[in-house]
C-alpha cells in the first residue's frame, strides 16, 4: 500500500479521507470534549448560556455562479452551521484572503452579497480581517467566516441524538449547488435554469423548533452531500438508517447531468438544504412548519431510523432493491465512458 505523505485534494473533500485527517491528526492535538462531538459547530456552556460556535472557509471556484457568489455562500454557510446546532445565529466574523489583482468591482459585488445575506439571516458582522497575498499565493479570494449563536433552553440537538423510529426529512431537492458549481467550473453547458440553492436556513429552523417539537438532529448536507451527512449521523448516533430512493427529490436536469457525468446526487453539495431527524409523532408538524418557509416548500420524509444495522445507511431503490449508501471517499470524479 502506498502511504500518502503529502496533503492531497481528497483530504478536503468532506468525505472519509477528510474525516480521517480530523480524527487522526486534529483530535489528538486539540484533545477536548467539545471538539470531539464533531457537530457542525461546537456546543458549550458559558456564563449560564448555551452557545454554538462555528467556523468555515470558502474557496469555491468559480467565485461567481448562478444563484450566488462566494460572499453570500460564506455568510449562509456559517449561519447554517450554527442553526444546525439548534441555535439562533447572532454575530459573525469575516476574514478575507485576497489575491493581488482581484478586480475591485468583484470584491465589491462579493461584499454587497455578503451584506445582503447577513441582513436576510438577521446576523451582524462584528469583526473582520483582510489580507492581500501576492499573485498565485491564493486563487482570487478565499473567505473565512466564524459565528456564534445562542441555543434556547429546551433545545437538545446534536448528531448523536437520532433514535430508532425517527423520521428523516429533507427540506428540498438535493445536489443543486454541487452540480451548478461543477458544470460552471468545467465550462459544461447546462441547458436549464438550475441555480445554486445557497440560502440561510435559520428562520426555518426557528419555525421547526417552535413549540417544543421533538427535533433530534439537524444537519446541512454541504460538502460530501446527503450520503455523507447521513453516514456521519448513523455513526454518531450508533443507529441504522433506511432511506427510499423514490422519495429523494432531485430536479430533472440535475439528475440528467449527474447521469451524463457519472455523479451520484447523493454526494453532491447542497448549500441551502437541511436534514432533520424528528420524533415520529412530531414529523407532520415539523413538515408543516418547514413547508411554510420559503426554503422548505418541498420538504419530504425520505426515510427513517432503524434499530438494526448500526452505523450503516441503507436505501430501497426505485426498482424495489436494496443497497448500502456509503460515505464519500474522496472527490467525486466524472466517469470516463
Amino acid at each position: 500500500m502506498m502511504k500518502i505523505d503529502k496533503i492531497v485534494l481528497d483530504h478536503g473533500s468532506g468525505g472519509k479521507i477528510s474525516h480521517r485527517l480530523t480524527a487522526d491528526l486534529m483530535l489528538p492535538i486539540f484533545d477536548n470534549a467539545i471538539l470531539a462531538q464533531l457537530n457542525d459547530g461546537a456546543i458549550f456552556d458559558l456564563a449560564g448560556m448555551r452557545l454554538a460556535f462555528s467556523t468555515d472557509s470558502y474557496t469555491v471556484d468559480p467565485i461567481f455562479f448562478p444563484g450566488g457568489n462566494i460572499g453570500d455562500l460564506a455568510i449562509n454557510g456559517t449561519v447554517n452551521d450554527i442553526a444546525m446546532c439548534g441555535a439562533t445565529p447572532l454575530y459573525l466574523s469575516v476574514g478575507l484572503i485576497i489575491e493581488e489583482g482581484l478586480p475591485m468591482s468583484d470584491l465589491e459585488s462579493i461584499l454587497i452579497e455578503m451584506g445582503k445575506a447577513a441582513k436576510t439571516a438577521g446576523v451582524t458582522v462584528v469583526t473582520g480581517d483582510t489580507k492581500v497575498v501576492p499573485r498565485g499565493a491564493a486563487d482570487r479570494i478565499f473567505i473565512n467566516t466564524s459565528g456564534i449563536g445562542l441555543i434556547p433552553e429546551d433545545v437538545q440537538i446534536a448528531g448523536n441524538q437520532a433514535r430508532p423510529g425517527d423520521k428523516i426529512i429533507i427540506s428540498g431537492s438535493i445536489a443543486d449547488h454541487g452540480i451548478v458549481v461543477l458544470t460552471q467550473r468545467e465550462g459544461l453547458t447546462f441547458d436549464s435554469a438550475v441555480v445554486s440553492d445557497t440560502a440561510p436556513l435559520n428562520h426555518m429552523v426557528g419555525r421547526m423548533l417552535a413549540g417544543g417539537k421533538k427535533v433530534h438532529v439537524l444537519r446541512d448536507p454541504t460538502r460530501g452531500g446527503v450520503g455523507t451527512a447521513l453516514n456521519e449521523i448513523a455513526l454518531q448516533s450508533g443507529v441504522g438508517l433506511k432511506i427510499f430512493e423514490e422519495k429523494i427529490p432531485v430536479k430533472g436536469p440535475v439528475a440528467g447531468m449527474c447521469e451524463l457525468l457519472g455523479y451520484d446526487p447523493l454526494y453532491l453539495a447542497n448549500e441551502g438544504k437541511l436534514l432533520a431527524f424528528v420524533s415520529p409523532e412530531d414529523a407532520e408538524a415539523v413538515l408543516a412548519a418547514m413547508r411554510a418557509d420559503k426554503y422548505g416548500k418541498e420538504a419530504v420524509v425520505i426515510g427513517e431510523v432503524v434499530s438494526d444495522h448500526a452505523g450503516q445507511v441503507f436505501m430501497q431503490t426505485r426498482i424495489g432493491g436494496t443497497r448500502i449508501v456509503d460515505m464519500l471517499t474522496g472527490e467525486q470524479l466524472p466517469r470516463i465512458c
Binding site: D191, G256, G262, R323, D326, Q332, P334
Partner: protein
C-alpha cells in the same frame, strides 16, 4: 441533451414487472456477465442484484477502462509526468490508481503538473495556452473515448497545436470478449453488452464473435429498466436454448454504429496487440497512433523507460476483471483494501467492481 426521459426509463412500475417476469421464466442456474463498468455501477446503484432470483448470477467483466489498463502503462504515465516540461492531462479516475511505486495523485502533490480534464478538447486548450510545454493526454478507455481523442488529434493538426500529444492505451471490446471466452476458465451463459461502446461500433461489430460462439448477447442501455430488459431477454434465450445477438438499446444503438466516429478512429489509429490487466496480451485489441501523426504520439516522441513493474501484491483485480473471482473472495477486500486505501485499480475507479461492491453491496 437527453434529459427528459430519465425518469421515464427509471419507472419503478415497469421495473417491478420485469423482475416478476424474470422470476417466472428463470429455471436453470445461469451466469451472465455485464461487460461494461458503467453497467456494473448502474446494477449496484439500482439494487438489481438484490431483486433477481437466486438462479441468476451477475458477473462483472473487463469493462472499467482504468482497471484494464496494464500496470506497465500506469507506470509509464507516471514516468511521463516526471518528464521535464510536460503537463499531463487526464481523466480524473486515473489519479488515484496505484502504479508500482507511485500514483498520479502522489506525483501531483510532489509538484508535477497534472491536470484533470473532462474532455480531450479541454486538454487541447491546455496545450494552446502553454506553448512552451508539451501537453500529454493519457488516452485510456474503449471505443467510446477513442473517437473523441482521434478528433482532438485531428484538431491539433488542423489548428497547428504542435505541443499536444497523446499516449494511447486504448482498448477494444470485441477482442476482449473473444479472449474472455477463450480462457475457458469462466463459463458465461450470456453477455450484457455495453451501450455507449455499441453506439460507436454498432451491433455488427459483435457478429463475428457471436457467430463463432453462439452465446446469448444483448446490447443495452444504463437505466434499470434497460438492464432488466436485457436480463429478461438473456434468460429467455438461455431457457429456450435459442441464442441470438440482440439490441435492447434501439433508441441509441444501430446495426452499423456511428460511421463518422468510427472513420475518425480509423484515420488516426491502427490496431495493435495490447496488454490488459487480468487478460494478458490480446491480439489486435489496442489502438496505436498512426505514423502520419507521429508528432502527436507521446509513445514515439518520448523515450519512456519503466523498470521493475509489478502488479499490486495480493491484488486479485485480474481475476475479478475476468469473472473468476468476486471482490469478497479477495483476502484484501475490506481488510487492507478500501476506496480510501486502494490496493488495486478495481477499488479506485468509480466503475471498478471492487469499489462498486464496497460502496453499494450489503454483506
Amino acid at each position: 441533451m437527453s434529459i427528459k426521459y430519465m425518469d421515464e426509463y427509471r419507472d419503478s412500475e415497469i421495473s417491478r414487472k420485469l423482475v416478476e417476469k424474470i422470476g417466472n421464466l428463470s429455471r436453470n442456474a445461469i451466469r451472465l456477465m455485464e461487460v461494461c463498468g458503467t453497467h456494473t455501477v448502474a446494477i449496484f446503484r439500482s439494487g438489481i442484484r438484490s431483486v433477481l432470483p437466486e438462479t441468476i448470477t451477475l458477473l462483472s467483466g473487463p469493462g472499467c477502462p482504468v482497471c484494464v489498463t496494464d500496470q506497465k502503462e500506469i507506470d509509464a504515465f507516471i514516468e511521463l509526468a516526471r518528464t521535464k516540461d510536460v503537463i499531463i492531462t487526464t481523466f480524473g479516475d486515473l489519479m488515484r490508481v496505484p502504479g508500482t511505486f507511485s500514483s498520479l495523485q502522489q506525483e501531483r502533490a510532489d509538484g508535477r503538473d497534472i491536470r484533470v480534464v473532462y474532455s480531450t478538447f479541454d486538454a487541447l486548450e491546455v496545450a494552446k495556452k502553454n506553448p512552451e510545454k508539451k501537453v500529454v493526454f493519457l488516452g485510456i478507455g474503449f471505443e467510446t473515448t477513442a473517437p473523441t481523442i482521434a478528433a482532438a488529434i485531428l484538431a491539433a493538426v488542423q489548428r497547428e497545436i504542435e505541443n499536444f500529444l497523446v499516449i494511447s492505451a486504448h482498448k477494444l471490446v470485441p477482442p476482449a470478449l473473444e479472449a474472455l471466452v477463450a480462457t475457458a476458465n469462466v463459463a458465461i451463459d450470456g453477455f450484457i453488452l455495453p451501450g455507449h461502446v455499441s453506439v460507436i461500433i454498432g451491433l455488427k461489430a459483435y457478429q463475428p464473435f457471436f457467430e463463432k460462439h453462439r452465446i446469448p448477447s444483448v446490447v443495452t442501455g444504463f437505466e434499470p429498466t434497460d438492464i432488466l430488459q436485457a436480463i429478461l431477454i438473456l434468460v429467455e434465450q438461455v431457457e429456450k436454448k435459442y441464442p441470438r445477438l440482440e439490441n435492447a438499446y434501439q433508441r441509441a444503438v444501430t446495426f452499423d454504429g456511428n460511421a463518422k466516429a468510427w472513420n475518425m478512429m480509423q484515420e488516426v489509429f491502427e490496431t495493435v496487440d495490447a496488454g490488459w490487466r487480468g487478460l494478458g496480451v490480446i491480439p489486435q485489441s489496442g489502438l496505436k497512433i498512426r505514423e502520419r501523426f507521429r508528432a502527436h504520439d507521446a509513445a514515439r516522441v518520448f523515450d519512456i523507460q519503466v523498470h521493475g513493474t509489478q502488479d499490486p501484491r495480493g491484488c486479485a483485480c485480474g481475476e475479478i476483471l475476468t469473472g473468476l473471482k468476486t471482490p469478497p473472495e479477495c483476502p484484501l477486500y475490506k481488510t487492507r483494501c478500501s476506496p480510501t486505501d486502494p490496493v488495486g485499480p478495481c477499488m479506485v475507479s468509480s466503475e471498478g467492481t471492487c469499489a462498486a461492491y464496497y460502496r453499494y453491496h450489503a454483506d
